[in-house]
């Protein structure tokens, strides 16, 4: 059972790793990354590493996407302000 699940999960992980790097749009990449983090956490549970799985869920499914999204928002925000200020002039 664990062997079959493991094969499936690892195959899925391998595919999504490639999918992440091939995604050009950053926002969809973040979603893919979050999904990938969950897959990894699931694999950690399956392979008897609950501690790491918890750390992985908190980090790669919550903290990382949050940071990336905040960074993107901040950059977009600044671009928008920059444009607005230019228009004003």
């Amino acid at each position: 059972m664990i062997a079959i699940l493991g094969v499936g999960l690892l195959a899925l992980i391998a595919i999504s790793a490639l999918a992440i790097v091939r995604t050009e749009n950053v926002t969809s990449q973040v979603i893919a990354l979050s999904f990938y983090g969950l897959l990894l956490a699931l694999m950690f549970f399956l392979f008897r590493a609950p501690d790491v799985a918890l750390a992985q869920i908190t980090v790669e499914a919550i903290a990382l996407p949050l940071m990336v999204m905040l960074a993107i928002t901040r950059m977009k925000d600044r671009e928008a302000t920059g444009r607005a200020e230019q228009e004003k002039r």
């Binding site: 690892l10 790793a17 950053v26 950690f44 392979f47």
Partner: protein, 117 residues
């Protein structure tokens, strides 16, 4: 020993190369940072695969007899360190990206080459 049975080792290599490929082809700095986390995640898979033992229990002895067969706790401790390292590096890199975008007005590594020659 042989390819099909040891597939997790090779998955780790695949993920490593995927991440590096992502960095090499990247056109967006945030994309590059995310690719770097993919590179890092290959080490999780590799470490976990190394410490795994078929039929072993998780190394938590709350409700387990001492002396039962468990998987390796060491690699898991190493992975914990690894996870922290990953987040911190990403936080730092993203701060650089945000600031570089602020000052240079671009998120493309091709346009941010002030240091040529």
């Amino acid at each position: 020993m042989s390819y099909p049975a040891d597939y997790p080792y090779f998955i780790a290599a695949w993920i490593l190369l995927c991440g590096l490929y992502g960095i090499a082809r990247s056109r967006h700095l945030v994309h590059m940072v995310i690719s770097l986390t993919v590179v890092q995640s290959s080490t999780y898979v590799l470490l976990l695969a190394i410490g795994f033992r078929r039929g072993g229990y998780a190394p938590v002895f709350a409700g387990l007899q001492t002396g039962v067969k468990v998987v390796d706790p060491i690699v898991q401790a190493l992975m914990l360190t690894d996870v922290v390292v990953e987040t911190t590096v990403v936080a730092l890199l993203l701060a650089m990206v945000v600031k570089a975008h602020e000052k240079g007005g671009t998120t493309s590594p091709d346009d941010l080459r002030f240091l040529r020659g």
